[in-house]
């Protein structure tokens, strides 16, 4: 039996807006196994990004319970959640979200730095990963000097370098051309396959959906379909 990477039980997220509260996520109950490659699809406003934020502990659930591995996220203090994110969760964002004050290498090694990994070990690990995903020679560049695809690769490197149990990727190919998207997906698939990292995407992109081994469709904050299948290209 596979280990559980993520489990949610009747999770709701309600934004208290005037004149009516907005129910972004409604009663989400979900289990994702370790090593899975999951895409969450759905129209704009269906709650995909909110679900990823909830799973990453970036926002509080209004009610319901969330577990990352064997640790319950709901009810944790801000400090405990920060610790959990640092140790177990990696993020890839649509807008790359690299820290502009740091170089590509410093961005990628940031979580290792926070974990107190020695400099030599950090650099070796990041440079090896950079080699693996085609970022050789770009380590000292600041984000502003990198193309969109290169920035997103650095973001992927930052997400996976600490061997997290879970990588949450919010529309990672939305700002990339088709060639760069395919290349990035290849990279993430390989990392998933070789390192066993669990990936959960939110996406509109049919190419991402094709590659996913499980496709969850959200509509109005609820799961409308949950399709477990073999990916089109493994």
């Amino acid at each position: 039996m596979s280990e559980i990477a993520v489990r949610t039980d009747d999770v709701w997220k309600i934004y208290p807006q005037e004149p009516f509260p907005v129910e972004a996520v409604r009663g989400l109950t979900l289990t994702i196994e370790s090593g899975d490659f999951v895409a969450m699809a759905g129209p704009s406003g269906s709650g995909k990004t909110t679900v990823l934020n909830l799973l990453g502990g970036l926002t509080d659930a209004t009610r319901g319970r969330i577990w990352i591995g064997d640790r319950e996220l709901t009810g944790m203090s801000g400090k405990e959640r920060a610790r959990l994110r640092l140790e177990r969760i990696g993020f890839v964002f649509q807008a790359y979200n690299l820290l502009p004050v740091l170089t590509a290498l410093e961005n990628a090694e940031f979580t290792l730095l926070l974990r107190g990994v020695p400099a030599a070990e950090r650099h070796a690990k990041v440079l090896e990963l950079f080699h693996e995903i085609g970022l050789e020679g770009l380590a000292d560049r600041h984000p502003g000097k990198l193309s969109g695809g290169q920035q997103q690769r650095v973001a992927v490197a930052r997400a996976v370098v600490g061997d997290p149990a879970l990588v949450l990727a919010d529309e990672p190919t939305a700002n990339l051309d088709s060639g760069t998207s395919a290349s990035l997906l290849d990279t993430m698939e390989r990392l998933n396959r070789e390192h066993g990292t669990t990936f959960v995407f939110s996406t509109h992109d049919p190419r991402v959906m094709e590659r996913a081994r499980r496709l969850i469709t959200l509509v109005d904050g609820r799961i409308e379909a949950d399709d477990r299948r073999a990916p089109a290209r493994a």
Binding site: T50, L58, T59, R85, P100, F110, T111, G116
Partner: protein, 420 residues
């Protein structure tokens, strides 16, 4: 380890917004330099007031008999035997820096009469040699000469008194006062010299005569009403007063007073001027605080996404706030040091010989018994510099707290929605 990362992030944050950081730092540097300059000028002005006033009155420290300050009566005098002990105590005080000069005085209220008129005066019996080193009036000679050792029936008078009594150098007039025995007795004296201080009370109402002449006339052999002590700096007043009090503890017939007690009007004037300065400095500090608050706050608002990412990567809210707080502190520290140094160098380089206000104020302006010199020489007090450094540190800390609090309370999911 993590603290070092936070420091690095703060330094990079300041460096990335170099233009904004530099503009804020420039505002702080100018404000602080202005503060140092203004404080040095203010302290220099006060020192001049105090110096002028104490040299025309009873010094930085006055040793008197109990009750003399309140009554001004001859019955409250220091007798010869006690006076010797007072002189010994003063001479045992440190000299450099410390006691610059001291002078015994026998002072009595009297009447000066000539064929033309009569006016109430303050008659001071003085030691001409000691007084010449001490008193400012001896430097304000306009005619004749000051008293000299060996003089007996000579008087040194103010120009207004001379005008109203129609006296010239060499003319005689009569001083009348109540002696120690309670009798009203007169003393004939001759005008040796005339002074002008610009302080009307002195120019019209002060007469110096030889100490021994006063003692004989008033029937108080070897006595004095005040021993006035002039120090190298008014900053030494409190310590010298305390030392003299300790040295004269066994003498019940004397009381040691600092200039603030002996000249309450001058004390009030200096305090009122200080309050004005504090108000000005308070406004300056508020402007500096707003500059820091504005710079750090804009930085926080413009970097919400960045702080959101930091928290997504594993930094806690408190650590994110600490990065912002450090940025504010670093900006304050660097600007503080540069501002202080610039203020000191600027003041020293351009105004060490004084700032001349003679175009704006009369050359002979007096205030609270003190002659205001239109040239103010800045004065640096170490204590003031320390106070300014602390004040800036506190202002910088407080101004950085609110933006830090805002940063620490950001919702990372919401923060990452914002464009950089």
């Amino acid at each position: 380890m993590r603290a070092w990362i936070l420091i690095r992030l703060a330094v990079r944050g300041l460096g990335r917004n170099a233009r904004r950081s530099a503009l804020t730092a420039a505002a702080m540097v100018i404000g602080l330099a202005l503060l140092v300059f203004s404080r040095a000028l203010s302290d220099g002005g006060h020192e001049q007031w105090i110096d002028s006033a104490v040299r025309m009155s009873s010094g930085h420290v006055a040793v008197q008999a109990p009750g003399y300050l309140e009554t001004g009566k001859l019955e409250h005098r220091i007798e010869a035997a006690t006076l010797a002990g007072v002189v010994d105590a003063i001479q045992s005080m440190p000299a450099d820096p410390g006691v610059h000069a001291w002078a015994p005085r026998l002072t009595v209220d009297g009447l000066a009469s000539s064929a033309a008129s009569a006016l109430p005066v303050l008659v001071q019996g003085v030691d001409p040699v000691r007084e010449a080193r001490f008193s400012l009036v001896t430097e304000r000679l306009v005619e004749g000469r000051y008293l000299e050792p060996g003089d007996r029936l000579h008087a040194f008078i103010g120009i207004e008194l001379a005008r109203r009594l129609e006296l010239e150098v060499g003319n005689r007039f009569v001083l009348t006062a109540q002696t120690a025995s309670g009798e009203i007795e007169g003393q004939l004296v001759r005008v040796a010299g005339v002074f002008r201080t610009a302080v009307l009370e002195l120019d019209e109402g002060l007469v110096h005569i030889p100490l021994e002449t006063a003692r004989q006339w008033l029937g108080t052999p070897g006595a004095a009403t005040t021993v006035a002590v002039l120090l190298d700096s008014s900053l030494e007043t409190e310590s010298t007063t305390a030392s003299l009090r300790e040295a004269l503890e066994s003498e019940p017939g004397v009381r040691v007073l600092g200039w603030r007690e002996a000249s309450p009007d001058l004390d009030s004037a200096v305090r009122i001027d200080d309050y004005g300065d504090y108000l000005f400095h308070g406004i300056l500090f508020a402007i500096i605080a707003l500059a820091i608050l504005n710079a750090v706050m804009i930085s926080v608002l413009g970097r919400r996404r960045e702080f959101g990412i930091l928290q997504a990567m594993g930094l806690t809210g408190h650590e994110t706030g600490f990065v912002v707080f450090l940025e504010g502190l670093m900006l304050t520290a660097v600007s503080g040091v540069v501002g202080m140094v610039l203020g000191l160098v600027f003041t020293w380089a351009f105004f060490r010989d004084g700032l001349d206000f003679s175009a704006f104020i009369e050359s002979e302006m007096s205030f609270s018994g003190s002659v205001i010199d239109p040239v103010i020489v800045p004065l640096f007090h170490f204590r003031q510099i320390v106070v300014s450094v602390w004040s800036i540190a506190i202002v910088g800390t407080l101004a950085s707290l609110y933006p830090a609090l805002r940063a620490s309370r950001l919702d990372p999911a919401e923060a990452m929605k914002f464009e950089q």
